[in-house]
């Protein structure tokens, strides 16, 4: 049984267990619906699904407060939902509607919510890291005990901006939490084919950034590791780095025929599905019942129906607003 490979379950209360389970289910079902709507022609552009990696966004964001900041990548539906951006606002963004969380200007890859300190979706790999460093610098200069969590993938580790940012954050002891979701592929290029050093912790450690490797398929392990790291960062210890070992179950994007991965490899990782294994553990431990799971599924389904209805009914941004918000004031 795959669940036995997971970390020993710490005591977990039923309500919290259901919060985590429901959070992961929301992402999974939301994205399954998004893929369906994409195929039906309701959503366009790129769509990068997070399915398989849900435990990371849900577990890690449990460790942050509303005052902390989040910087994410183009594969950020999960992080946005886990941060509490309403599913309707995310879905409307994918539809390109004015009620979307970026008014339809950003789409799937560029979700923003300033009020929730969700600083977006960066689609140039590595491009969000310097932004996170700067957000943390502002907090340091203003003596605010806030943390900036920056999510990125293993592909970003090959970018210069990764190295520049870790060095700068460590040099200036900035409160940044670097969260690397190592799903083993930089688009279609396997880790062993894009990294001379595949233990990504070593790269962070070379900048004197404390680094840990965590099972990214285990939501409780993710949560605990992130809590420890957030605690260290918040208390002035400078940046921390966590490498989450994970896997995306779907292709890179809806365009990707997924020719570069063996079916057996995908199947092997699916045995470690973060949702089904967590459910199994909770049931074995008697923390939740089958009825609880069914109810969570039902609630999530209802939320997604409402999100799609919201997106369908949402207005389009008037074309007269095209140049609005390029700069403040009059269009330039």
């Amino acid at each position: 049984m795959a669940a036995t490979a997971l970390s020993p379950a710490p005591l977990i209360e039923r309500d919290h267990a259901l919060t985590l389970l429901r959070g992961m289910l929301l992402i999974r079902r939301f994205e399954e619906k998004a893929a369906e709507l994409y195929s039906a022609g309701n959503i366009h552009g790129f769509l990068h699904l997070y399915i398989g990696q849900e435990a990371i966004a849900v577990g890690a964001l449990q460790a942050l407060t509303p005052d902390d900041a989040i910087v994410a990548t183009y594969r950020e539906h999960g992080h946005a939902l886990a941060r509490g951006i309403p599913a309707g606002a995310v879905m409307a963004e994918m539809y390109g509607k004015a009620s979307g969380c970026s008014r339809g200007h950003g789409g799937s890859m560029h979700l923003f919510d300033a009020g929730r300190r969700f600083y977006g979706g960066y689609a140039i790999v590595g491009g969000g890291l310097p932004i996170a460093v700067g957000l943390a610098l502002a907090d340091t200069l203003e003596q605010r005990a806030r943390v900036t969590a920056c999510f990125f993938g293993d592909g970003a580790v090959a970018e210069g901006e990764f190295h520049e940012s870790l060095n700068l954050a460590a040099l200036w002891k900035l409160p940044v939490l670097f969260l690397c979701e190592n799903n083993r592929y930089a688009m279609g290029t396997a880790l062993e084919r894009h990294q001379s050093q595949t233990d990504l912790r070593a790269k962070a450690q070379s900048y004197n950034v404390p680094a840990e490797q965590v099972d990214g398929m285990d939501v409780l392990a993710v949560q605990e590791a992130t809590r420890r790291a957030v605690d260290a960062v918040r208390h002035g210890g400078g940046p921390q780095f966590i490498e989450f070992l994970t896997y995306r179950f779907r292709a890179h994007s809806m365009y990707d025929p997924d020719l570069y991965r063996a079916k057996e490899e995908i199947a092997r990782w699916k045995e470690r599905d973060p949702i089904s294994t967590f459910q199994a553990r909770l049931r074995e431990a008697g923390v939740v019942t089958e009825a609880d799971v069914a109810q969570a599924e039902q609630e999530v389904a209802t939320e997604i129906v409402a999100a799609v209805a919201f997106a369908e009914a949402a207005p389009w941004e008037p074309v007269e607003n095209l140049l609005k918000d390029v700069c403040t004031g009059a269009p330039r």
Binding site: A114, G120, P130, G134, A136, L171, D325, C327
Partner: protein
């Protein structure tokens, strides 16, 4: 009114900004202990301390991006990039992030960031320290591009830039730093919306910016000695361009010469020329002319570098040719 150098004017503006707003800080390569590659920030570390005058590693992308992040976090960062050639290492942050965030976020985010850098040739620094790429930056919606040519603008435009809610890029021509000019310490914030007529004239408009304004004025002096009065227009702001002032002058003089230290192909000079053609074609007595750098990487040897760059003599010749075409 006193006489100070362009370098001192930038430093005065930095000092005033740092003293009057606790959110302002300066970061960049060697801005602190070294005093700035062009000595612009000399003394500021001692005055304001290492928290606000921050030496960075040679990581243009990270520290410019950190400027964006700090601006998002409520600060008013001033990022100094040593030269425009080095700024290419940070172009991802400029084009993909600084310029996009307000619009891409549906108007939720604001990036009040000021980026300063040296630009231009004339010091025999060869092909990796001498280029004028501010025209590239002027191509990008979402940022404002300033090119102060005078001591007063070096001071007042920086103060104005810090009041903008959007990213502002200031290009300081490196040859201007030691140049002295009139300075009114009470002048305050400069207008950054309009071009300025630096010399009034009637027979042609010479349009320049940054380090080329002085050359245009020299050419105008020479032409005046021969009885030809040309108007010299300083663009001051490359994005957004002040079409109205350009077109008003050209409609009056009916001839235009654009001086641009960048290469001619795809240049800001090409953009200004196109706008004149679009907006004042029927007022023109001659085709719009351009004096730009030769299309080569800027060479080291003095005689070659001089030959590659716009010079007053070339501006004079071009004006005379324009007048000749209409005087037959």
């Amino acid at each position: 009114m006193t006489r100070i150098t362009y370098r001192d004017a930038v430093r005065s503006a930095l000092r005033e900004a740092l003293a009057s707003d606790s959110r302002v800080f300066l970061m960049g390569e060697d801005v602190g202990r070294y005093g700035g590659a062009y000595a612009v920030s000399r003394g500021l570390l001692e005055e304001f301390g290492p928290e606000r005058i921050r030496d960075t590693p040679l990581s243009e992308s990270a520290f410019l991006g950190a400027g964006i992040g700090a601006a998002l976090g409520g600060m008013r960062p001033i990022v100094e990039v040593m030269t425009v050639n080095f700024s290419l290492l940070a172009l991802d942050q400029v084009v993909n992030n600084a310029a996009t965030l307000r619009h891409m976020s549906g108007g939720q985010l604001s990036v009040p960031l000021v980026v300063r850098m040296a630009t231009g040739a004339g010091r025999q620094l060869a092909a990796q320290h001498s280029h004028s790429l501010e025209g590239w930056y002027a191509h990008i919606p979402g940022i404002r591009v300033l090119t102060p040519a005078t001591v007063a603008d070096a001071y007042g435009m920086l103060l104005a830039a810090l009041r903008e809610p959007d990213p502002v890029f200031i290009f300081e021509h490196a040859l201007l730093y030691p140049v002295e000019g009139d300075f009114d310490p009470a002048s305050g914030v400069a207008d950054i919306a309009h071009a300025a007529v630096r010399r009034a004239g009637t027979e042609a408009t010479v349009i320049a910016y940054g380090g080329s304004v002085g050359k245009a004025l020299q050419a105008a002096d020479q032409l005046a000695a021969a009885g030809v009065e040309v108007e010299v227009l300083d663009l001051r702001t490359l994005r957004p361009l002040d079409d109205e002032t350009i077109l008003t002058s050209v409609r009056k003089t009916r001839r235009a010469v654009i001086v641009d230290e960048a290469w001619r192909t795809g240049s800001l000079a090409a953009e200004v020329s196109a706008r004149i053609t679009e907006g004042a074609f029927y007022d023109l007595d001659a085709p719009v002319a351009r004096v730009c750098s030769a299309e080569v990487p800027i060479p080291y040897a003095k005689h070659l570098e001089d030959a590659a760059l716009p010079q007053p003599a070339g501006i004079v010749t071009t004006v005379r040719e324009l007048l000749g075409t209409t005087r037959g």
